[in-house]
């Protein structure tokens, strides 16, 4: 034993070294975890996460599916939060009326809405102001509406739609209702001349209804019509003349500084350049960014809305 003690020592040192290296490379996990007793439960209904007072709420017209809209507007909220220094959150509204209500009651401070919805809200509550207007990819502040039919349809002109079924988007939609109504009336086709008609809630639903054959024709936004036509799913029967595009409005009761900050941030937004990473931004009415606008630019809509929208249902 005396003769081999050095060798035993060497082996022990080797094993200890191996153990040391192993534990150095793979240390025993230190549990800096949070201790939680799952049995200690909340007995009354409480709010777990109080809303913050400095949150600025934003809403929009539901023009696509809720998920698609969220995917588009969530990055804009991050952008505004970073630029303005306040947290921006979406307040989702299922309907145009809901947007009108939230804007009118101040539940939301800003909203991306079409001209019809702006005019209706303003007429109802009188407290919204447009701050920027959307531009298309050609930096143009106007858009058109399109009357579409299936490619194999025998509808060739607007007049052919008489006694046929027709699909609108939302009732408060500019491109999905107001402008197609104007186009049809100018072609001598009134609602009563239609075999049947319906408001399907969104441009997408309207297009799907036409493509699927539920309706013979429909009125949708020009960009969607071009897109579907390029795929051979629809044929554009007629395009409207240009109308001022959708806008971002603000509740005029909030701090003017905040409005100015938001306006500046939106005017800085360059979806075609530095901010091209915004998700599906080309599907919005603001694909080319924004431009400063005032209420006068939408004055033409006040009469049309009064005639075609509010006159019918008010």
């Amino acid at each position: 034993m005396n003769m081999l003690w050095r060798e035993y020592l060497v082996i022990c040192v080797m094993i200890l070294s191996l153990i040391g290296i192993s534990f150095y490379l793979y240390p025993i996990e230190r549990l800096d975890s949070i201790q939680v007793d799952l049995n200690d439960v909340v007995t009354t209904s409480v709010k777990l996460n109080n809303s913050r007072e400095d949150v600025v709420y934003f809403s929009f017209d539901l023009r696509l599916s809720p998920k698609a809209e969220i995917e588009i507007y969530a990055p804009l909220m991050d952008y505004l939060s970073a630029k303005v220094g306040k947290q921006f959150r979406i307040k989702f509204a299922q309907t145009y009326e809901e947007v009108q209500y939230m804007l009118g009651t101040g539940e939301v401070s800003f909203a991306a809405i079409g001209p019809v919805n702006y005019v209706v809200t303003q007429k109802k509550y009188g407290n919204v102001i447009p701050i920027v207007i959307g531009l298309d990819s050609n930096k143009s502040p106007v858009y058109r509406a399109a009357i579409i039919t299936r490619p194999d349809s025998n509808i060739m002109t607007l007049e052919d739609i008489k006694n046929r079924s027709f699909a609108f988007g939302s009732f408060y939609s500019t491109q999905g209702h107001l402008i197609p109504r104007i186009m049809l009336e100018r072609a001598g086709v009134k609602l009563e001349d239609l075999e049947r008609y319906a408001f399907l809630g969104s441009h997408q639903a309207c297009a799907q209804a036409v493509i699927s054959g539920l309706f013979d024709a429909g009125g949708v936004q020009d960009t969607l019509a071009f897109h579907l036509e390029s795929k051979g799913l629809v044929r554009i029967v007629a395009l409207s003349e240009p109308y001022p595009r959708s806008m971002i409005v603000a509740n005029k009761n909030i701090e003017p500084e905040l409005i100015e900050k938001v306006k500046s941030a939106l005017l800085e937004l360059d979806p075609l350049g530095k901010d091209a990473n915004l998700t599906d931004w080309d599907k919005t009415e603001f694909s080319g960014g924004f431009k400063e606008v005032n209420q006068e630019f939408y004055r033409m809509y006040f009469e049309l809305v009064g005639k075609y929208i509010m006159g019918e249902f008010s």
Binding site: Y8, L38, L76
Partner: protein, 591 residues
């Protein structure tokens, strides 16, 4: 514990230690990997759940949300819990059976992206993944993933690995053992074969194991054994021959050695450089140096004379040699060239001491015989001369008594003086001739005799200033001798000492004795005797004082007298320092 057991023990300890470390490392690695994978999966699953619920959340369709969450939990058993918080902070839904735990309130608020926190619950560790319920809108989605599920699978995998590893090691061990036996058995056979060969059993053959490498090896080994057996026989025969030759060679060598050792001459064999290779016994005796000391040295160092190993010297060169024992020997040295491998040259030393001494003695004998003849002649002549000289002396003295003329008287006195000198010389010659002829035998005290001799000599040579030191006492040194003869001896030597010291010096006389002899030391501080004259001073008519009326017979007479007493005289002298005469006399002698 045997060494191999110790090795096995250490190996097993090391293997177990290494295995445990390995298992730990693998366990950690797998746990980490699976945990990471689980979290990655969890993130994906949570995002997927969120995507599937966004529209329901926005539509506030709680029933659908609940269905989706339940379906999610059923599909993924590692999900411990799910809870949703609306954008207004209100709890929308949770899956805790007992109610929502207080501790989870505001615990893991997600930022813009996913947030993961490790929570240690009373049911084990949970990785909670939380995210915003609807991006841009707010709300929270929390999903707790149980680590227990991961550990269960990891531990199962590890245990399977350990058991399978142990099983493989066991099977492998048994296989190795069996294989080793299969391989080692033929090798053992080979080992046995080698052992038998080592013991001399060259007729042993090993078994042939199949047609593999070991089979070839066994066949080759057997072939090698056959060759080895044959070669061994040949070697044995050769060895026997060699032994016979060796025996005869040994006998021849012994014979040669005995001859060399019994030869009366010293024989030294040398290398061509003159280094001694062999040295026989006679050479040892002659040089006084042992063979073992001489071998390896140069022959010049031993013989102390230059030896030229160039040509043979068959005639021999005579040299006087004082060997290592202090003996003087006369050698005749022959040089002989050898042709054998033992060396190029041989030196033969022949002792010619006896021959030289014999020659010397013969020469002395011849000389003594001549001197004896001369002495007898001289005695006759002296006797014949002495008678007329006595007549001349008497007649001249009568004429001197009667003569009145002064000048005549002077001439007559001169004649008387010269005649007396002639008589004295004649008497000395007669004494020399007569020594040993008539020695008296009386008990005498040497000390007293020496004192008488000193007194006589002082009376004769009173012109010097000498100190005399006497180291003896009366009555102690008694011998039976001829007092007249010994007195003649002492007087001669003491007078010579006075003459050697000329006018001053110290004469020292010591007497010593032993059971048989008395030694008289007479030392002077005179001029000393040159070395070349020492061995001649006892020769008759040898003198260094010629022209002083000295015949050179004094010491010859003294030596003759002492030898007549069976004694001896020795001389030790150094020129300029003085001389010592040692007279050795037997206490009693028979003539």
């Amino acid at each position: 514990m045997m060494l191999k057991h110790k090795m096995v023990f250490l190996f097993v300890v090391f293997l177990i230690g290494f295995g445990l470390i390995n298992v730990y490392v693998v366990w950690r690695e797998i746990t980490t990997s699976i945990t990471v994978e689980m979290l990655n999966f969890g993130k994906e699953a949570v995002l997927h759940l969120r995507e599937s619920m966004i529209e329901d959340v926005l539509s506030n369709n709680l029933l659908t949300i609940q269905d989706k969450v339940e379906s999610f939990m059923k599909r993924y058993p590692q999900v411990r819990y799910v809870y949703l918080i609306g954008s207004d902070g209100a709890l929308i839904l949770h899956t805790f059976e007992k109610g929502f735990p207080k501790s989870l309130m505001n615990l893991n608020t997600p930022d813009s992206s996913l947030s993961i926190k490790t929570i240690l619950t009373n049911d084990g560790k949970v990785y909670e993944i939380s995210t915003v319920l609807v991006p841009g809108v707010g709300g929270e989605l929390h999903v707790g993933l149980s680590e227990e599920y991961v550990l269960h699978h990891v531990n199962k995998a590890i245990m399977n690995m350990v058991f399978f590893g142990a099983f493989v090691v066991g099977i492998g061990g048994v296989t190795v053992l069996v294989s080793m036996r299969v391989i080692i058995y033929p090798l053992k056979e080979l080992e046995e074969g080698v052992k038998k060969i080592m013991m001399g059993f060259y007729n042993h053959r090993i078994k042939i194991f199949g047609a593999d490498e070991l089979g070839y090896l066994s066949t080759a080994f057997n072939k090698m054994l056959e060759d080895l057996e044959m070669k061994n026989k040949q070697v044995q025969e050769y060895v026997n021959k060699l032994k016979t030759t060796l025996r005869s060679l040994k006998k021849s060598k012994e014979r040669y050695k005995r001859v060399i050792e019994s030869v009366g001459d010293g024989i030294i064999t040398l290398s061509r450089e003159g280094v001694i290779l062999s040295y026989n016994r006679r050479a040892e005796e002659l040089t006084g140096m042992k063979c073992s000391d001489a071998i390896g040295k140069r022959v010049d160092e031993i013989l102390r004379i230059p030896i030229k190993l160039e040509v043979e010297d068959p005639v021999g060169t005579e040299v006087s040699f004082r060997n290592d024992r202090g003996d003087n020997v006369f050698l005749k040295i022959f040089i002989k060239k050898l042709t054998s491998d033992y060396g190029e040259w041989a030196i033969i030393l022949r002792d010619i001491t006896d021959e030289v001494i014999k020659n010397e003695l013969n020469k002395k004998l011849l000389r003594y015989e001549q001197l004896l003849s001369i002495g007898e002649l001289m005695v006759r002549i002296a006797h014949e001369i002495n008678t007329p000289l006595t007549s001349i002396l008497l007649s001249t003295e009568l004429l001197l008594m009667k003569c009145k003329n002064r000048k005549m008287k002077e001439k007559l006195e001169e004649i008387i003086s010269k005649v007396e000198i002639c008589k004295e010389r004649v008497n000395e010659l007669m004494k020399l001739a007569r020594t040993g002829a008539a020695i008296k035998r009386e008990l005498i005290d040497i000390a007293k005799l020496i004192d008488d001799s000193i007194s006589y000599c002082q009376a004769c040579k009173c012109y010097g200033n000498f100190s005399i030191v006497k180291n003896y006492e009366y009555g102690k040194y008694l011998v039976i001798a001829d007092p007249t003869g010994l007195r003649e001896v002492f007087e001669n030597i003491i007078l010579n000492a006075f003459q050697a010291m000329r006018d001053h010096g110290v004469l020292t006389i010591d007497i010593k004795d032993d059971n048989e002899f008395v030694y008289v030391y007479i030392s002077d501080t005179g001029v000393g005797i040159p070395e070349e004259n020492i061995h001649r001073i006892f020769e008759p008519f040898f003198t260094t004082k010629k022209g002083q009326g000295n015949l050179g017979l004094g010491l010859s007479i003294a030596n003759a007298i002492v030898k007549a007493h069976r004694g001896e005289i020795f001389v030790e002298s150094k020129v300029g320092k003085g001389s010592t005469f040692i007279i050795k006399l037997p206490r009693g002698f028979n003539i």
